[in-house]
């Protein structure tokens, strides 16, 4: 596991210390902040925007604003720095969305044409086919037909979780556990085939 939060006893305390150092003028602490949040922000913003170029722009703006506010002592709860970073990124995306929505339609359409669609590339298609093969193996290896039903009804039919629980006599916690174990098994099967969770081969 490479998550910083696994190492730190308290991520809040580490964040507060980082804020304190930046306020004291420590330039290395600023670099640490950028390194600490860059990948996570990329991930968060890409999920929010669905557009890589826009998420990269927003990540730069977010880090710039966060650094300025930390330097000026405008972060009221330094131990909740991650929350501040997240809400800054989200607000920037909301503002950017509103700005785009006000643009003339022709301009918006040309922006749509520039979207990159990673799902349609040959590599993405090959990986998706591999994922399906692994999912079939997972279904074959599940210990009970009930677990197969849970996966299909939740992920494929997208049935309401409460309805699935009621009809299969499961508590919400039991249903979550079935899904959690399926994900763990899926991960193990992918690794057996030399694929990691991020979709690339042998990069761990």
């Amino acid at each position: 596991m490479s998550g910083d939060d696994r190492r730190a006893a308290s991520p809040g305390a580490a964040d507060a210390e980082l804020v304190r150092r930046i306020r004291a003028g420590d330039r290395r602490a600023e670099t640490e902040l950028v390194e600490r949040f860059s990948q996570g922000l990329d991930f968060y913003l890409l999920r929010l925007t669905g557009n890589r170029a826009r998420s990269e722009d927003l990540r730069q703006d977010t880090l710039r604003i966060v650094l300025e506010k930390v330097r000026k002592g405008e972060v009221r709860q330094p131990e909740r720095l991650a929350g501040f970073v997240r809400s800054t990124a989200r607000n920037l995306e909301v503002a950017s969305y509103r700005k785009r929505a006000r643009r003339p339609q022709r301009e918006r359409l040309s922006a749509v044409e520039n979207l990159t669609d990673g799902e349609r590339g040959p590599l993405a298609r090959a990986l998706a086919a591999e994922d399906r093969r692994v999912a079939r193996r997972l279904l074959g290896a599940l210990p009970s037909p009930r677990d197969r039903q849970v996966l299909f009804r939740v992920y494929v039919a997208e049935e309401d979780r409460d309805a699935v629980c009621a009809s299969l006599g499961l508590s919400p916690a039991q249903l979550n556990l079935v899904l959690f174990r399926a994900r763990q098994r899926f991960k193990a099967l992918l690794r057996e085939r030399g694929i990691n969770g991020r979709g690339a081969r042998g990069e761990r």
Partner: protein, 226 residues
């Protein structure tokens, strides 16, 4: 939120299914900003969902191809062609019959929606910052029939929109949430829900001010009795 908590409470599954409360979802997003393992696991959960959908699509395609293969084999002889045509018509007509029946149902629903609504249930909450546990929640008695229920939520005069509102079911899961909400001319938020969404039990409606540090403006409780 830390990593053992995420694993112990299957937070990733709940996040993917959208069953976390907005506050928990925010805490998880804050956590994964600095947790590469959680980001990887979140991607995995979503890949598993996509892969299972893909498997289901392949199974459906294979089943359809099997039916077409049967038709082709049947169509080889003269008698077979007639049988294949009959089978084809049966397969083709079944969805049409289903759609016609569903259309009739939709027309009926549309007529109900367009008809004037009499004695619509209107729940107006008192302006409050937090629900007082000593005060019993607003009681709302609903019948079996589907009817609209209107909630009027007053907003503090000084508060500026947009607002976010979240309605929690009795078990704490999210029944509905709306973002970017603006008050009406009277300064209220108005929410209309079909009564069929509300099972018996105690509900909580939370209203937040938008902004870099979202602030809770009000919490209202109501009890549905059936």
């Amino acid at each position: 939120m830390n990593h053992p908590y995420v694993d112990d409470h299957q937070i990733i599954e709940q996040y993917v299914l959208g069953t976390l409360s907005p506050e928990e979802a925010e805490r998880f997003e804050e956590h994964y900003l600095t947790c590469a393992a959680c980001r990887e696991d979140l991607q995995l959960a979503e890949r598993l969902g996509r892969a299972l959908k893909g498997v289901a699509a392949e199974e459906l395609a294979a089943a359809a191809a099997g039916r077409l293969g049967l038709l082709a084999r049947l169509a080889r002889g003269a008698r077979g062609r007639a049988l294949a045509a009959a089978l084809f018509l049966a397969v083709a007509l079944l969805p049409t019959a289903f759609l016609l029946r569903r259309n009739a149902g939709l027309n009926e629903r549309l007529a109900q929606l367009e008809a004037p609504q009499v004695n619509v249930a209107i729940v107006r909450f008192e302006p409050t910052r937090a629900a007082d546990p000593a005060v019993p929640p607003v009681r709302l008695t609903l019948g079996e029939a589907r009817e609209p229920v209107v909630f009027e939520i007053p907003l503090p005069a000084a508060a500026e929109g947009p607002f976010r509102a979240v309605l929690h079911r009795p078990d704490g899961s999210v029944l509905w949430q709306g973002e970017g909400l603006q008050p009406d001319a009277r300064g209220d938020l108005t929410l209309t829900l079909p009564s069929t969404l509300l099972a018996a039990g105690d509900y909580q409606l939370l209203v937040f001010a938008a902004g870099p540090e979202p602030r809770r403006l009000a919490r209202h409780a109501f009890r549905v009795v059936r």
